[in-house]
Subunit: 349 residues, 2 copies
DNA sequence: GTTAGCACTCTAACCTTCCGACTGCTAACA
DNA sequence: TGTTAGCAGTCGGAAGGTTAGAGTGCTAAC
């Protein structure tokens, strides 16, 4: 059912006011904020109607109203539909422009910037993908029967694992294995390797074992079960009064503790640039909401960055910050010629 | 000042009882737990004396007593001096024995095991050391003017960074640089490299720039500013009633949020195998205590594993669990011949 | 030095009261 | 029909009072 323009306007004022005060909003307060002349009685009757429709609740009969999750969702729709006014976040460029880049540092620092700019806890998930191109596979024998396998891509090292290797082979075994394995893997994506697997098997024979193990590593990687999750600014949650409620605080921390679940929640549909999940109806305990932006360069999805906070969140600000960060990443991209999606990815990874 | 044997005994009973109930302990309760016949009045007079000495406080006049930090410290001394009865923790061996080992996985899982076994939040810090031996340095050009530097050691990859490289050199430049750099670094420890730095400079000349950058990476690594900190089981804090107090909860989470400070707190003196920090007097906010065990193999310090929880912590259990884990690591070591400190390190890293 | 007995203290739980915030309703009005 | 002023009514939260019970400190006797 469609709301009248006035209902929308009143609801919008109420939600925004509540976002900032965290106190139930009375008809008199709305009257103050309303730009035209209107009586509080009229507002009261509209509020009663909005409550009937499920957009508001009254904690008790002699208090003002607070928005329901349904109201937040409507509000967020309006925010997303509106123009994205810029919000400038200092410090992002510094990290992107640095000459020497610790791969994980960039992510961690981006997360910190988002958290500081929004005043909420931020989360970044690096999505593993089987479209990543392998540059080199390095097998280093570190002990009798044990070798370290390092898989290097344009985006940095994606895996380093200890594997067992046969013991009674000659001393040249590892060197030879290195060469064979590199011929097979270097320059290809995991996807390509998987699709051409049978051809390769024939060539391998005596390195069969090592090959299998490396494929296993890559498959585990691409399975996404081990997506890397970075969380920054956990303690910022305590700045928001809903988390003085110990139950909410517990649910919140528990959610952050379960990295796999978090990683799942951060997933967005392929078409969606920015997703907002609000409250229990979207699978979030503890009075939480989660805003997630997808970061992709040249059509390749890199990962998701998001903000988690109370349902009563400043969605407008959060959306702007996430957009700005997105733009910074893309902006740098355009400074260079084509083919540099990979550069971008490197920096984000 | 020395306490009488009876005072010690009463204090011990009180501390242990308080650890389990989290309620002020009355003279009548101690009488129940005391193995000999003794009247509550006698206990009361002893309690009054202990309070006078600063070991106990009364929340209010008509309640029992609770231990002060001073009392916990005395108690912990007794625990550490006593024999370390074994406590078996399932699941540790599984991870150590796995054929394919993701380096970070072992740490994360060890942390999880410690947290589950103790019911407290666990922390593991991997200490960077300049005694680590470099196996190979790999420079991979990933874009014009940019290369990925991967530093491989026995313990896995310690660094992967993007650096800038000169652009107008021939195509063989990177290959040659790889060879030169490897000759210089492979097989040495960072310490050795640092001490022989001047000799090396002469050889380098045209790879001077790359060499400098790699040394920079290694030095930053060894500086310890980027010790890796793993935290598991944060939400377990809510199982303990002191963290229903929102202020304590906030201080606790804030502490975990500040990874650098945490890393500092985890440091132990060289001679100390196991350190216990209790409360504000030891630099911990939020009614916290921190038990840290040093893990070292063959004399080389690997890192610290610890447990953080309320001051009212089950120190006995925590100490046993940390000892058990320590022993498991060492135990595996002894199954193999000498020289396998490196294997161990690999698994812990 | 130890103990029984008792007076005393203080908290936590439970009422009651009261103030004030805000509403819903009614009746009048445009 | 929609809007408004006015007013009675509801309810939460703060403040204050009462009470029961837990546990002590003190005293006097052993």
């Amino acid at each position: 059912m469609e709301l009248s323009a006035r209902k929308r306007k009143i609801l919008g004022i109420l939600v925004e006011h509540y976002i900032h005060t965290a106190e139930p909003v009375s008809s008199a307060e709305i009257k103050e904020l309303y730009d035209e002349e209107i009586s509080s009685a009229t507002i009261r009757s509209e509020l009663a109607a909005l409550e009937e429709l499920g957009y508001l609740i009254q904690p008790h009969v002699s208090s003002g109203r607070i928005p329901t999750e349904q109201a937040y969702k409507l509000y967020v729709e309006a925010v997303l539909a509106g123009e994205k006014k810029e919000i400038v976040v200092a410090g992002v460029r510094d990290y992107l422009d640095r000459k020497i880049v610790e791969i994980e540092d960039v992510v961690r620092n981006t997360a910190r910037v988002i958290s500081d700019a929004t005043n909420y806890t931020s989360i970044i998930v690096i999505k593993n993908t089987d479209e990543i191109r392998i540059r080199e596979v390095k097998i280093v024998e570190v002990d009798v029967g044990r070798a370290l396998v390092v898989i290097i891509t344009d985006s940095g090292v994606i895996k380093d694992n200890i594997i067992e290797i046969p013991v009674n082979m000659g001393s040249g075994y590892v060197t030879a294995a290195n060469n064979v394995v590199n011929d097979l893997f270097a320059g290809r994506t995991l996807k390509e390797i998987k699709s051409s697997q049978t051809d390769i098997e024939a060539e391998m024979m005596q390195y069969h074992d090592i090959f299998d193990k490396i494929v296993m590593l890559l498959e585990e990687y691409a399975s996404g079960r081990h997506n890397k999750v970075f969380v920054e600014g956990t303690s910022k949650m305590f700045r928001h009064p809903e988390f003085s409620e110990i139950d909410n605080a517990r649910d919140f921390i528990r959610l952050l503790d379960e990295k796999e679940r978090l990683s799942d929640l951060m997933k967005t549909d392929d078409e969606i640039e920015l997703s907002v999940r609000i409250g229990r109806s979207d699978g979030l305990d503890g009075n939480c909401a989660l805003v997630t932006a997808r970061y992709s360069i040249g059509g390749t999805e890199i990962g998701n960055a998001g903000v988690i906070g109370p349902v009563r969140m400043d969605y407008d600000k959060v959306v702007r910050v996430l957009h700005y960060i997105q733009k910074e990443f893309n902006g740098e991209d355009r400074e260079k010629e084509k083919g540099n999606g990979e550069i971008k990815r490197r920096e984000q990874k």
